[in-house]
């Protein structure tokens, strides 16, 4: 025992009375380890929540962006007046309910689209390049694509309507799979967090068995003992879970800041193409809050259950307690 510990233990009998010591001993090594375990598991669980939220939001954006437009493609033919065909196709598309706008991609825009492959100074009239009409769709009430396709096919030869259904279906399927995998990982992560917190709390409680017994023997009611430990471990849980949750939020903010700052670089472009601007959003932050509250409550509930189990053992045990 060090001198400073001795000084703290020996105080003169007289003088001002200090605050009473807490019923449950202050943090021990096991207590600090418990805070660290809770913080780490909460951090990992919160990261998972954030990642799943990001994937879900991104999948939803992919679907909505691709489903927002359809394309009418008109392939050139010798006897076809391309401009008239484009205009006809645009007019037909605009007559359908659920179409917000139909725009012909003009020669200049088409040339710009092809510029990366064919270079500048392109004369489209010399090349058999298909032309496009972009149809903007009301996502809430999409048009009847079958009827539109039929009408265009009848009136504009060489025209075809691509409603991106194949892409949308694939993306919906991929997004659903990704989100399902994400939620499975989240459930596994939360289960691991729950079990780790339970076992770590029980470990930290093991060192307090003598305190429970003494309180019990001096006539403390079970609910008093349980409430003391519950309060103590709720605070421990809040400390650890808040630290883990805050660390996760810092990571989210740092990633958001990094992706915003490197928007123009090739690496960030890849990330942005996949995940948008890497913003977690309110759902993600709310998820972090829920995980923090869940972990803190779980720590308190585990300590409560451990106290009750210990008290049951004390009253019926057969080992020498006296």
């Amino acid at each position: 025992m060090t001198d400073s510990t001795l000084k703290s233990l020996v105080r003169p009998g007289s003088g001002r009375r200090r605050r009473m010591a807490p019923i449950v001993p202050a943090q021990t090594v096991a207590g600090h380890a418990l805070i660290a375990v809770i913080a780490i598991m909460t951090f990992l669980a919160c990261l998972t929540v954030g990642a799943v939220t990001l994937v879900r939001d991104t999948a939803s954006v992919w679907q909505s962006q691709i489903a927002r437009e359809a394309t009418i493609q008109i392939r050139p033919r010798d006897d076809l007046d391309m401009e008239a065909a484009l205009d006809a196709a645009r007019t037909i598309a605009e007559t359908f309910a659920g179409v917000r706008a139909a725009t012909v991609v003009d020669s200049a825009a088409t040339a710009r689209l092809l510029e990366p492959w064919l270079g500048t100074g392109l004369d489209l009239d010399e090349l058999p390049v298909p032309r496009l009409v972009i149809v903007t769709i009301d996502e809430a009430a999409p048009p009847d694509f079958v009827a539109m396709r039929e009408a265009i096919r009848k009136q504009v030869p060489n025209a075809s309507l691509d409603d991106h259904r194949n892409w949308v279906d694939r993306l919906v399927s991929m997004a659903r799979t990704t989100v399902t995998i994400g939620f499975t990982v989240l459930i596994l992560m939360l289960s691991a967090t729950v079990l780790t917190v339970i076992f770590a709390t029980r470990g930290a409680m093991a060192g307090n068995g003598h305190v429970i017994e003494v309180l019990h023997y001096v006539g403390a009611e079970a609910r008093f003992i349980a409430s003391q430990f519950r309060r103590h471990f709720l605070l421990t849980g809040i400390k650890g879970a808040a630290a883990g949750g805050l660390a996760a939020i810092v990571v989210f903010i740092l990633f958001g800041w990094w992706s915003g700052r490197n928007m123009a670089t090739p690496e960030a472009d890849q990330a942005t193409a996949l995940f948008g601007n890497f913003a977690i959003g309110m759902t993600g932050y709310l998820g972090v809050g829920v995980v923090v509250i869940l972990v803190a409550a779980l720590t308190a509930a585990t300590s409560h259950a451990t106290v009750v189990a210990h008290l049951n053992g004390v009253d019926v045990g057969t080992t020498d307690h006296l």
Binding site: P12, G219, V316, H321
Partner: protein, 207 residues
């Protein structure tokens, strides 16, 4: 089910009585004390505590009955993170009483057991005798109807053992029934008191 430790035992602890419980190690003294303290239930037989059949006492009633029974544990059972004062005040604190309402009583009791100068010392730096007296003071703070002490002089030298015995006698004179479990014959010889002797699971009562 394990071996039968106590059998065919019948005795009563009258109010304001003083008795020793003796017998060789392993005879069942601690088990008998635990039965009296309600921390152990008998496999069969009848135990009445303050007129109530132990088998009919509900679990939530136990704390209230225990407050009438003071126990001095052989290993003291003091909480090391609390001072002597806080350890002794613990039974009152767990009942939700304000510290101001019992501060004087605890301080006075600690002076009575000779720990007036050790109020703010923690158990790790108390001597064996001081711990023993702190444990006794904690058992007495609620003025119990009965005091059960398990080998209360087992860790102290003979002069201190005599001093503790005088403490118990004084307590008994003030109205508390006292049962001291000990195998210290010299201690028992100092007082002309009832003796309950356990051997081979049976109890002989010498009034």
């Amino acid at each position: 089910m394990g071996p039968e430790i106590l059998r065919d035992i019948s005795f009563q602890i009258p109010k304001r009585s003083f008795q020793f419980l003796s017998g060789p190690s392993g005879a069942g003294k601690t088990t008998l004390l635990r039965l009296l303290f309600l921390s152990l239930a008998p496999t069969r037989g009848l135990i009445k505590v303050f007129g109530k059949d132990r088998a009919l006492i509900r679990r939530d009633e136990l704390p209230h009955i225990r407050r009438k029974i003071g126990v001095v544990f052989q290993d003291f059972r003091l909480l090391e993170h609390m001072t002597t004062y806080e350890n002794v005040a613990l039974p009152l604190r767990v009942r939700g009483r304000e510290e101001a309402s019992y501060r004087g009583d605890v301080t006075e009791l600690l002076k009575w057991v000779g720990l007036g100068e050790r109020l703010n010392a923690h158990p790790p730096i108390l001597s064996g005798g001081e711990k023993q007296r702190a444990a006794i003071a904690r058992a007495l703070i609620e003025q119990p109807d009965i005091l059960l002490a398990d080998e209360p002089t087992g860790n102290v030298d003979p002069p201190l053992a005599r001093r503790l015995l005088r403490l118990f006698i004084e307590l008994n004179r003030s109205g508390t029934a006292v049962l001291i479990a000990t195998h210290d014959l010299s201690l028992m010889d100092q007082v002309d008191a009832r003796r309950l002797v356990l051997a081979d699971g049976r109890l002989a009562v010498h009034d």
